[in-house]
């Protein structure tokens, strides 16, 4: 459980840096939505945040600390999931980062309710898929 704790703490440091430095909540949903804003300071920091985020993978590969991932190859499943996540996080105004990390960290009741709800929905989804023997 050590790598999970270290990784989590690092995510906390990243969120703290953005909050104390720029006064912004590091929520991925907000960052993505900001890409579509025509002119705003929010789009500026979001773009730089996104560049840093995306560059983490190649940086980790260079250091040799490779992390293989396992993911479904079904386009049908991937597109369905992507649409649900994109639509749901937009109307719910946040995902695992904005609600789960920052919102919980600042003891927002709204974010706690959202986090419990999306984790519960995820748990039920995986359980139903297992019951129906749908393997992603």
């Amino acid at each position: 459980m050590m790598v999970e704790l270290i990784g989590g703490a690092l995510i906390g440091v990243a969120a703290s840096l953005l909050w104390l430095g720029l006064g912004r909540i590091s929520g991925m949903t907000g960052v993505l939505s900001s890409l579509f804003l025509l002119s705003d300071v929010q789009r500026r920091w979001s773009l730089f945040f996104l560049v840093g985020l995306v560059l983490a993978w190649p940086a980790v590969q260079v250091t040799g600390f490779a992390t293989p991932i396992t993911i479904t190859e079904s386009p049908w499943l991937l597109v369905s999931a992507g649409l649900l996540v994109g639509f749901g996080t937009y109307i719910g105004n946040g995902c695992t980062s904005g609600h789960g990390v920052c919102g919980m960290g600042r003891l927002s009741v709204r974010s706690m309710v959202a986090t419990i709800t999306f984790i519960a929905a995820g748990v039920v989804t995986v359980a139903v898929m297992n019951a129906l023997e749908v393997q992603p």
Binding site: I11, G12, G52, L84, V123
Partner: protein
């Protein structure tokens, strides 16, 4: 300088997701598989992140403004409404289907898996569909 802080924050966030294994969809689905072969280790990711941010947020209360900006942009929404709950349910279902949420999907963008492009493409389409069909949440101001 503020651009550097934003990029550094994004980079550290990505490193955290990679080190913890949160970017691996199979591991995330294992975490959600409470009634099956449950792998609870990812609890520590959220736990670690929440504790660190909790401390930083408390510290920010002693300050009038951030180091490099005019003010702290606290989220204005507080309501627990249908919109929030429906959104969280939709997100959770999509999350459970393949094991990806927005942050990890973006971190995995350069992993070379074609699957990530399908997901991120649909993620952006879903985001815009919601924007056009539903629109931004009202902050009541």
């Amino acid at each position: 300088m503020s651009a550097l802080i934003a990029a550094l924050s994004g980079f550290l966030f990505g490193l955290g997701l990679l080190i913890s294994g949160m970017n691996d969809p199979a591991k995330v689905r294992g975490f959600l598989d409470i009634f099956g072969d449950w792998q609870p280790a990812l609890i520590a990711v959220m736990g670690g992140a929440v504790v660190v941010f909790f401390v930083a947020f408390r510290f920010s209360k002693t300050r009038t403004r951030p180091w490099l900006a005019e003010r702290f942009n606290l989220p204005a929404l507080t309501a627990i409404d249908t919109r929030l709950l429906l959104g969280a349910v939709m997100f959770g279902v999509g999350w459970g289907l393949v094991g990806l949420c927005p942050g990890p999907a973006l971190v995995d963008l350069l992993s070379g898996h074609a699957s990530i492009f399908w997901f991120v493409g649909a993620l952006l389409v879903g985001n815009r569909l919601a924007h056009w069909l539903v629109g931004p949440a009202s902050t009541g101001k």
